[in-house]
Structure formats: structure tokens, C-alpha cells
Subunit: 339 residues, 2 copies
Amino acid sequence: MRGVIMHSPGEVRVQDRDDPQIVEPTDAIIKVTAACVCGSDLWPYRGAQDVEDQPMGHEYVGVVEQVGDSVTTVKPGDFVVGSFMTSDGTCEICQAGYQSRCVDTTPMGGIGTQAQLARIPQADGTLVATPEHPDEDLIPSLLAASDVLGTGWFAADAAAAGPGKTVAVVGDGAVGLMGILAAQQMGAERIIAMSRHESRQKLAREFGATDIVTERGDDGVAKIKELTGGLGAHSVIEAVGTQEAMLQAIKSTRPGGHVGFVGVSHGVELPGDLLFGSTVHLHGGPAPVRRYLPELIQLILDRKIEPGKVFDKRLPLEEAAEAYRLMDQREAIKVLLEV
Amino acid sequence: MRGVIMHSPGEVRVQDRDDPQIVEPTDAIIKVTAACVCGSDLWPYRGAQDVEDQPMGHEYVGVVEQVGDSVTTVKPGDFVVGSFMTSDGTCEICQAGYQSRCVDTTPMGGIGTQAQLARIPQADGTLVATPEHPDEDLIPSLLAASDVLGTGWFAADAAAAGPGKTVAVVGDGAVGLMGILAAQQMGAERIIAMSRHESRQKLAREFGATDIVTERGDDGVAKIKELTGGLGAHSVIEAVGTQEAMLQAIKSTRPGGHVGFVGVSHGVELPGDLLFGSTVHLHGGPAPVRRYLPELIQLILDRKIEPGKVFDKRLPLEEAAEAYRLMDQREAIKVLLEV
């Protein structure tokens, strides 16, 4: 099969890889219909994270080709959506809704779904089959559910977005934009997108943003305070992962408010006294996307949300290197790879 | 009147101070019945925080002597309990239950309640009067409600202690012990006290601890994991404020679990990747004690809880210096000052 390998920072190639095989009786093999490049794939691409001959990709939708002997909930031919972390669905942590931290999880990023085929461990606890094969135009939205939508949804949930709430969103990448969509679905009264880029501001408004703040750092915090009677937002989504973004998020939140942070943390050190003094709720980490998948898939199939709009570019798998380049240069928000 | 002044680290004196006066129409003056020394008073005492000629004390119960013209909920003669942070009770932050972060708050530590009299700003939103003067033997428990009990209660609440939960408590000072009492009242199934001191272990068990762990740091974390099927506790209370204690708390919590932290943060820097990877809920800060006071006072008056047991020493106000020494040397858990 053909698949993406990142050989070193910036060095992405599509090449022949061995076809995956069933290893455990709980595995499934899927034929990938579509995959994409994640913001977190850019950390190694930019050299901010070590990388050497790494299969890439952890977002995917596809059709089941083959299942192991003990798999019961999906069968060959099913169209499936899964999360970027596999989960057994049965352990105490999964049962509590934290499938991304399942006691027996495998990060799909280690397997690489930017490929024609992918092995999905713990298929029963990881994959969700759609009732029938979805219409072609729903593929991008279902693919978004696999990570960015699920992650933005978790962030909005962790930030306790809901009716009567003012939600601020730090980060105008795909996850931040999905956080806006999620906050709107959860009934937030006001959604403030922090963005400097016109194309992203436009999409933010489409997804439900009511206000745009272009200032960053402490100036951004001051603007959020100004918009919220000096108190700060009730709910703040952090979707970047840098020190500046985390501090901006915490400082923009009112006492007793909630910060949902999902930007993969790079070089962040939170001063204890700031956190203590802020009196906010802080919750985040790798999103337990699987918890939300059934609900998100239904919203998409019912055409109530269209998260697929976050893909502003499509390329065939063979042009994955260009997909990385476009996202690295911020020439694209998110690129879908047709497999 | 007589009152405590900390002139410099370690230098505590009881001396003549001007009687407080009504400054704002929302003020009350109370005759302090009992005050005490807080763990947080030991930070400046030990030189870990700057201090110069500072009136001390922020915990108090007493009898109202005088009220400003606009005070309506308490009157001269009332026995009252108040929090260490004043609150107007009417702002959005107070209404959301975060009275310690009221938009118009005054820290009582700046006024100093280790004294015969104290001015209480925002009396209506700060003080809670008991229906009648309480029995003498309830005074220590009501005094505890003013800070350590309310703080331990908030920590247990922030840690989402409740039925079916395993709660671990980092810190065996007065607040940690009150966290144990709170977790027990909230119905926790198992309460693990982390303590090396026999007298504190004994009190921990009296307040509801079911297990004692004497290991600290990563050894303590390993022990908590061992006691919880490798997963970690559902709820962890942090009642110290140091880097070691915060990391111990976060690492002892299972994915999706809750850390309630109330130790005043000193020198803490939380690594973002640890926090991200932990997937815990983190909430804490200066406890909104006022939120809990009516419930706590009722539990005490009904003799359902006896938090006053945390005072293992009583001294007259004039011997405040000795009270500080005893607590600094950990010869006493908490000292009540009779005024």
C-alpha cells in the first residue's frame, strides 16, 4: 500500500509500505476513505518534536476490510469513524468517558492513517459504524469528527460552554474553529473568536462566533475583559498549546469560570500563583473523542452541523507533502487527503 | 485594643492598636470571641513571604458591636461567623458562588482578626449570624468554619468527592484534615490520608480516613496507584502549596479525575505536558468559604460534625507568639486564640 512517512522535520514522502495485518483478534483493518493533516503533525514537521521515519496521520474514516475473531460491533463493508486514540471501551477509564486514556490505548499516530489501509486495534471500542454508507458530501464532516471536531467539542465541554455563557476561543486553527461550532451547538449566548486572519474570521462567524478579537496576549485579555463587564469570559477554549495561549486563556476567564485546553502543550510552565489566584477550573488534554462520536455522527448525518467546512483544501494522498506545506505556511486551514 | 502584629519574619508581638471604626456604611465592628493562627500565616513567619509591621489573622467568630447605616442582615449582639475574604454577596461572581473573588473583596488578613476588635467590610455579604449565641463548646468548630473547614470543604467539592469515590488527601495540616472530614460528609467511599505524623494520622482517622499512606512524592503516587487498581484516585485534595505536593496530587489522580488544590501556592510551576497528559480536572484557589457557611454552621449547631477537634491547643491572645512558635515547629496542628 501507499502511505505517508515523515523522514525528518519537513521531509514528508508518500511511499510503499507493507499492508497491515490483523495482529490481535480485537483488530480491524480498514480501507481509508479520507485522512488529513493535523495541527499536531506540524510540531515534528517544524522540528519542535523529534521525528525519524515516522508513519503519519491519526484521523480517518474508511470501510472495514477485515476483522479479528473477537470483533463483534463492526464487520467488513461497514463505513466507520474512529478516534485518534484507540480504546477498549470496557475499562473503568473508558466507562467514565475518558477513552483517550484507556488503560490499553494505542495512539493511531504511531500506526499512521495517511495511508491506503490502517490497522485499528480494539476495533469494538474504537470504531463507530454509520447505519449505511454516507453521502459523498458528508465525508469531510465525518472525517472532522475523528479528531478536530471531537477535540473542539471536548474543549467546549471542558470549558462548560452552555446557555447564558460567554465563550472565548484562543486559537483560530481547525480545532479552535470546531470549538466555536461546539459552543454554538451547546447554546452559548456569545462566542468571541480571537483571530487575526480574515479567512478564519469568516469561517468563525459561519460556525457561530458573535465577536472577533484581533488582539493577543495581555491586550487580548484586556479586550475580553472589556467585552464582559470587566469580569472575563465564563468559558475559554485554548486550542494552541503555547505558553502565551495558555496564559491568555486563563487570564481571560472569570473567577469560577472554566478553561478547556486542547492545544498539545509545548514548553508550557504554569505559574502556581497565577493558577491559584485565578480560581478557574482547568481541564483538558487529549480529547476523549470516542465519547462524543455517536452524537457527532448523528448531527452530521442529520445535516445539523457541517464541520467539514473546515477543510479548505483537498489533495490526493500522493500529494501529502504539499498538504503539509500548505498547512505549515498557513495557506490552508486544514487539508483533506483523498485516498 | 490589643492585637497581633508581625514586625518581621518570626517576630510576633501582641500590642496596643487603635480601636477600629466604621469607615463605610456597609461595615460592621465585631468583638472577636476567638481567632487562630493559619498555616498561611507561617509563610511570612518563616520568611517565605515579605512582611513588615503587619496586623495578623483572618479567621474569626465574634459578636457584633456596631454596624454601619446600610447594614441590614446583622445587628449588634448577634454572634457571627465570617470568611477570610469579604464579599458583597451581590456581584455576578458572588452570585456564581465565588465570594472569595468578589469584585469588591477585602482580605481580612490585611485588617487582622488576631485582635480584640475587627472591622468587617461588606458585613451583609460577609457575615452569617447564628440563630442564637452558640454553646461555648461549639466555638472552636464555628471558628474552624471561618477558614480551615470552609477551605477543606471547597477542596473536597473541587475534587468532586462523593459517593463511590476514592479520595486522596495530600497534606496533613488542619486544611487537609478538614478535607477528610468534608469528603466523609460528602459520602466518599474511601479516603486515603497521606501523613507521616502519628497524632495527625489519628485525627485523620477520627475525621473519616480509611487508609493512611506515609510515602511522599513519587513513592506516594505509586502507593495510591497500588491502592486503586493502578488507576489513581478519583479525587485528590492538595492542601500544602509546594511543587512536590502539587505534582503528587496531579500524578495520584486518575484520567478524568479531579484535583482540588487549596494550599497557597509557593514556587509552583506546573509543566504543561504533565497537565495535558494527565487529563485531570484542576480547580482551586482561595476558597469561597462564604458559599458554604450556612450549611457548615448548621451541621455544627446540629452537632453532626466537630471540626473544632482540629485545635489541639488553646492560648490567650496575649500568648500569640507562642501559638506561632508551636505551629511553626509542628508541635501543634492548630492553635485557637481566646480573646
